[in-house]
């Protein structure tokens, strides 16, 4: 659609309420409409009513779910952590209610709050790969489309590493419970690296991942973006370990501080 067309079509965002309720907007239109909703109190009630109407169309479609689905879902749930912290709510649909984080006391049940679904990988490397990828997708419900696309692309890369016949996992944890985990395939020269239990780095700083090899300078494998797993490529067989340091924003050529985490790669098929 042309820019002119979009401008003309903007005259009445209100008219998009019904298509929105039916999930009949294109992704960018949906985002624009939700932006409009955030500023339009009178729209919210109407949109909510239309959404309730639309849901009634679902009443007639119920069908027994396959038995295997029940088994998979209930098994996955046994090891899958629930969201506890507020997700960035840039895209909030009025009928997908806002987070109630902070308005309720944290549940008494003890569960590592920062555990990410990727940690599942360490327990179930290949058998549950499909489930894990599904879980990764599921976490992203509230993200913007661009970020979602990027993360789905990343989930595909992770699935690729997982699918390698020699994919293996290892992890280490320090006394405080902060840890680093990796799933690596020596044949693919790829690894998925996650950090867990660390506080956010200080403002203006970032965590950088390094590949350590004997007699060679450390090589940067990339920067961590929050809790998001990092996919490292081009790992050579001679790699002995991974290290994480805290560096100025944008990363450094070479590490400028002591590692905050280290992990030997011998058990996942490297270090030859």
């Amino acid at each position: 659609m042309s820019v002119l067309g979009r401008l003309l079509n903007r005259e009445d965002p209100h008219s998009l309420a019904a298509p929105y309720a039916l999930d009949a907007l294109e992704a960018d239109e949906r985002r624009r409409f939700e932006k409009h909703l955030a500023r339009c109190d009178r729209c919210v009630a109407e949109v909510r009513a239309l959404c309730e109407d639309a849901v009634r169309l679902a009443w007639s479609t119920a069908a027994p779910a396959p038995a295997a689905l029940r088994e998979r879902v209930l098994t996955a749930v046994r090891t899958m952590p629930q969201e506890r912290a507020p997700a960035p709510s840039r895209e909030r649909a009025p009928h997908l209610p806002p987070h109630v984080w902070g308005t309720q006391p944290p549940p008494a049940r003890t569960r590592t709050p920062r555990t990410r679904p990727l940690l599942l990988l360490f327990a179930t490397v290949t058998a549950a790969a499909a489930l894990v990828v599904a879980a990764l997708f599921a976490v992203q419900a509230d993200q913007t489309q661009d970020r979602l696309d990027a993360e789905r692309a990343q989930a595909r890369e992770i699935a690729h590493v997982l699918a390698a016949p020699d994919a293996r996992a290892t992890s280490s944890e320090d006394a405080s419970g902060a840890g680093i985990g990796v799933i690596a395939s020596a044949s693919e020269g790829q690894a998925v690296v996650t950090l867990s239990g660390y506080d956010a780095p200080p403002s203006g700083r970032v965590r950088q991942l390094w590949l350590m090899r004997p007699d060679v300078q450390p090589r940067s494998l990339g920067l961590f973006d929050g809790d998001t797993p990092l996919v490292a490529t081009g790992l050579t067989k001679s790699a002995t370990s991974l290290a994480v340091t805290v560096e100025p924003d944008g990363g450094s050529e070479q590490p400028t501080s002591q590692p905050v985490a280290q992990l030997a790669l011998k058990s996942v098929g490297f270090g030859e």
């Binding site: 019904a18 009513a49 009634r56 007639s60 879902v73 549940p107």
Partner: protein, 180 residues
Amino acid sequence: MDADELLVLVADGDQKAFEELYGLVSGPVFGLVRRVVRDPAQSEEVAQEVLLELWRSVARFDPGRGSALSWILTLAHRRAVDRVRSARAAGEREQREARRAHHPAFDQVSEEVEAGLEREWVRRCLERLTALQRQSVTLAYYDGYTYREVAERLSLPLGTVKTRMRDGLTRLRECLGGAA
């Protein structure tokens, strides 16, 4: 317990409650996803994503804004539509439809299985819409088309489709009102 009560327990990490909730919602979720996505294997995949998302993101549910089942089905519909659109964009849809043309049995079978009071009620109310209202609403909701695509398929101006969708939903509300 109903879905709303169960959701409170699930938000507290109660796996038994989730199992019970699964019993209540897996049929509606799977049926809706399959109605939109059509392909049985892909439907199962999307339903799985939705049910796991339900477990993970249950804290996002706000009982002040509607029923648990509405929330869950809204989530399921959004994911199903996302899937069917990306599949369509990839051209898989056409291939699948071509295959389905040779195996018309699937829809017939599912309609028999799904026959029920609610189904009957919704169908009756849909029949009371004008043809254009009905087509605009069902092409979007059950087939996952955007309103632009609906306009194209029905050879209608965009504005007309938007209005038909709104009128269709409003008349549906009037017709189903007592059944809520």
